[in-house]
């Protein structure tokens, strides 16, 4: 598979991947601040401006931290979580796919990295004693159960590379045959919908200094990667595909893909702010999230691949009927 990939395309893809990763990491706090601002506008509260989240992270980076018990483990968990989040961001297509010969990860690896980052982000809550400990346990449990809830979605994507899967989806129109994958995108969006936030409130994390900045940045990165994944699956047609066309059309498609990504993020921010209007307690939010992810994924899988979930006996009966009456098939094909 490597023979049709020239070195020029290889380095262009590497450059695009690096650009995508930097874009996601830099845009994550902005997106979070945007969602926070929108939710504040919807609920009628005064919130920070859009850049407030990024300023907060920048400010925390320069502050000296207060050393507490178990802080070493917390800082380690934050750093590993950020690395995992950046790794997942590197694997997520923002505006372009990678060509067929390029080494690309599978969807399961991507989801595992994101869930692992979420688990590690819940670890600092667990280390510190007090009231946040219970919330930490709940968050850990909810994130741990997320991977089993994602099984229908993982089955939909199959064992193939995620880029190949998206390249297959790219040919389907989302308003036509690709409609079940919109449902799959909704299921992926539900992962972040009620994630640890109560009307814009963060989980109570008592980290300080650089650790807190890393924790906030990793949280935003994980959220934005999930949103980007959902948007990619829901409408893969906006992603550029290299090697098929020349370099210049690919660059134009990349620019258009970036613009479409912005539009998708705007829609997702509206929906996220809307979900923050629902006031639910923390365990109930976790249950709602897991049930929505699982059931929507199951429904999407059934709709997308009806041959695998449909009854097999009906198949034989229908084929037998068609043999007896050839007009049956034509009648079925006309409407």
């Amino acid at each position: 598979m490597m023979h049709d990939l020239t070195w020029g395309w290889f380095f262009a893809c590497l450059l695009a991947l690096a650009l995508q990763t930097v874009l996601i990491v830099l845009a994550a706090p902005w997106f979070s601040g945007w969602v926070n601002r929108l939710a504040g506008r919807l609920t009628g509260e005064r919130r920070f401006p859009v850049g407030g989240r990024w300023q907060d992270i920048h400010h925390q980076f320069r502050r000296p931290g207060l050393r507490q018990r178990g802080d070493g483990l917390s800082s380690l968990a934050c750093r590993v979580a950020l690395i995992l989040a950046v790794f997942a961001a590197c694997m997520t297509p923002v505006f372009t796919l990678v060509p067929a010969g390029f080494p690309a990860p599978g969807f399961a690896l991507l989801c595992t990295a994101l869930v692992g980052a979420s688990l590690l982000l819940g670890l600092p809550l667990l280390v510190q004693a007090g009231t946040a400990e219970l919330a930490g346990y709940a968050a850990l449990l909810a994130d741990g159960l997320l991977l089993p809830a994602l099984v229908p979605v993982l089955v939909m994507a199959g064992g193939q590379d995620f880029s190949v899967f998206l390249a297959h989806l790219r040919q389907l129109s989302p308003v036509g045959d690709g409609a079940p994958f919109v449902l799959m995108g909704v299921a992926l969006f539900m992962v972040t919908a009620w994630k640890g936030r109560q009307a814009g409130e963060d989980l109570p994390c008592q980290l300080s200094g650089v650790d807190r900045a890393l924790w906030m940045l990793a949280t935003d990165c994980v959220q934005l990667v999930w949103i980007t994944l959902a948007a990619d699956v829901a409408w893969a047609g906006s992603l550029a595909l290299p090697v098929e066309t020349g370099t210049e059309p690919w660059l134009a498609q990349c620019l258009a893909g970036g613009a479409f990504w912005m539009a998708k993020l705007a829609v997702a921010a509206l929906f996220l702010a809307g979900t923050q209007l629902m006031v639910l307690t923390f365990p109930r939010r976790a249950r709602v999230r897991l049930a929505a992810v699982f059931l929507l994924g199951l429904l999407a899988w059934q709709v997308a691949y009806p041959g695998q979930s449909g009854p097999v006996a009906q198949d034989k009966t229908a084929s037998a009927q068609e043999e007896q009456d050839p007009a049956f098939g034509e009648e079925g094909s006309t409407p």
């Binding site: 308003v175 639910l280 709602v288 049930a291 429904l299 009806p306 041959g307």
Partner: protein, 386 residues
């Protein structure tokens, strides 16, 4: 399989989860899902029906206040609907007709209409507030209509249109019967607006009359108790008018009349109730009195109290007669107790040949009046027996 077909069950789930607010969006999406494939008259009729059944009820409900019914069912209800949809999809599978046709082999299929109807049934079953159940029924109508249009069943579409009309009408009637209007109804200027039947309908804010009742005078101590005394004054004045014209220029009566005209309209509603209370025993006394007027007059009055009581009973009778005769002109005024004391003093000072015993009962209260009325009736009974 289009996006609208996929979105319709999701919006039905939103109706189950959040209420009737998503119903117009569901109707529009369902209409789009009908019209995308073909645009035959059947599809157009179904789409128009669905839009009408989804938009009009929401507009109608928006004219009423939120009933504030506390919903006891939790957030797990839409997941019940979602799980039932999954089971329905499992049970339905792919139709054999599309499964073996080469163009449709493996094509996506979702019984969207049945899923929408199922969500509506879940909303009807699990939600408790009236508007929510109505929304569930309308979602059912939308789903069955979508299913009928997709399967090209004319009878299903027609019957569903009829059922939708019935559901919308009955639900609208229930909403109109139970819920309160949001809009402030303006005060009507017609003659019918003055009737108490027209006024008693009101939780409406526009019901207050231009010359509203004064709130200070509406208390029971301000209206009910002095009213009896003022009626007594009016009765005494009527007697005086019949006997002699000496009390016409009485200052107290003039001030009383002045306050009457000022507050007569205002305290009308409150005084009608009090008037009914006072007229009822007086009417009984008058009926007793009217049967035997001759026995009463020559009756020897041995007890001092009975003398005063009979006089008082005569006064109350004449008072009731006078009040009935001159209801519109001499409405009892709502005076305070100081005015009553003044009136009592003036009554004592004024030359009254018919009532010399007025001083004895200077401290009369409604209880004493009631006791006197009872005593008078008792004496009348005794006289009849004798």
């Amino acid at each position: 399989m289009t996006l609208a077909v996929i979105l319709a069950p999701l919006l039905a789930l939103c109706v189950v989860a959040r209420g009737i607010g998503f119903l117009p969006v569901l109707g529009v999406v369902t209409a789009v899902a009908m019209l995308v494939d073909h645009q035959a008259p059947l599809q157009e009729f179904g789409a128009a029906c669905v839009v009408v059944f989804s938009v009009l009820p929401v507009w109608f409900v928006s004219r009423y206040q939120d009933d504030g019914a506390r919903e006891r069912s939790g957030p797990a209800v839409p997941f019940l609907a979602l799980g039932l949809m999954v089971i329905l999809q499992l049970a339905t599978g792919t139709p054999a007709a599309t499964w073996d046709v080469p163009g449709h082999a493996g094509a996506a299929y979702l019984p969207a209409g049945l899923c929408v109807a199922l969500a509506g049934l879940v909303a009807v079953t699990c939600r408790h507030s009236m508007v929510w159940q109505w929304a569930g029924l309308l979602v059912c109508v939308d789903g069955i209509m979508l299913s009928g249009v997709i399967e090209n069943q004319i009878m299903v579409v027609g019957v569903t249109a009829l059922a939708g009309c019935v559901v919308a009408l009955l639900g609208g009637l229930c909403v109109h019967r139970v819920m309160l209007r949001v809009a402030v109804a303006p005060a009507q200027n017609g003659a019918g607006a003055d009737r108490p039947a027209a006024r008693s309908t009101g939780f409406e804010l526009g019901d207050v009359e231009p010359a509203g009742p004064e709130p200070r005078r509406l208390g029971p101590e301000a209206v009910v108790v002095p009213r009896i005394w003022s009626e007594a004054d009016v009765a005494a004045e009527a007697e005086d008018d019949s006997a002699a014209q000496s009390r016409v220029e009485h200052p107290d009566t003039e001030t009383g009349l002045a306050t009457d005209q000022a507050s007569g309209d205002a305290t009308e509603a409150g005084e009608k109730v009090a008037q009914q209370d006072s007229v009822a025993p007086n009417a009984e006394a008058a009926s007793d009195e009217g049967t035997e007027p001759s026995d009463e007059a020559p009756k020897p009055e041995t007890q001092g109290e009975s003398d005063a009581s009979i006089k008082q009973a005569e006064r109350t009778e004449t008072e009731s007669v006078a009040a009935e005769a001159a209801t519109d002109s001499h409405q009892p005024n709502a005076e305070t107790s100081e005015d009553d004391a003044d009136a009592q003093v003036h009554d004592a000072d004024a030359p009254e040949p018919l009532e010399p015993d007025e001083d004895e009962t200077g401290q009369r209260s409604p209880e004493i009046i009631a006791r006197d009325v009872w005593l008078k009736g008792y004496l009348a009974e005794r006289g009849r027996d004798a």
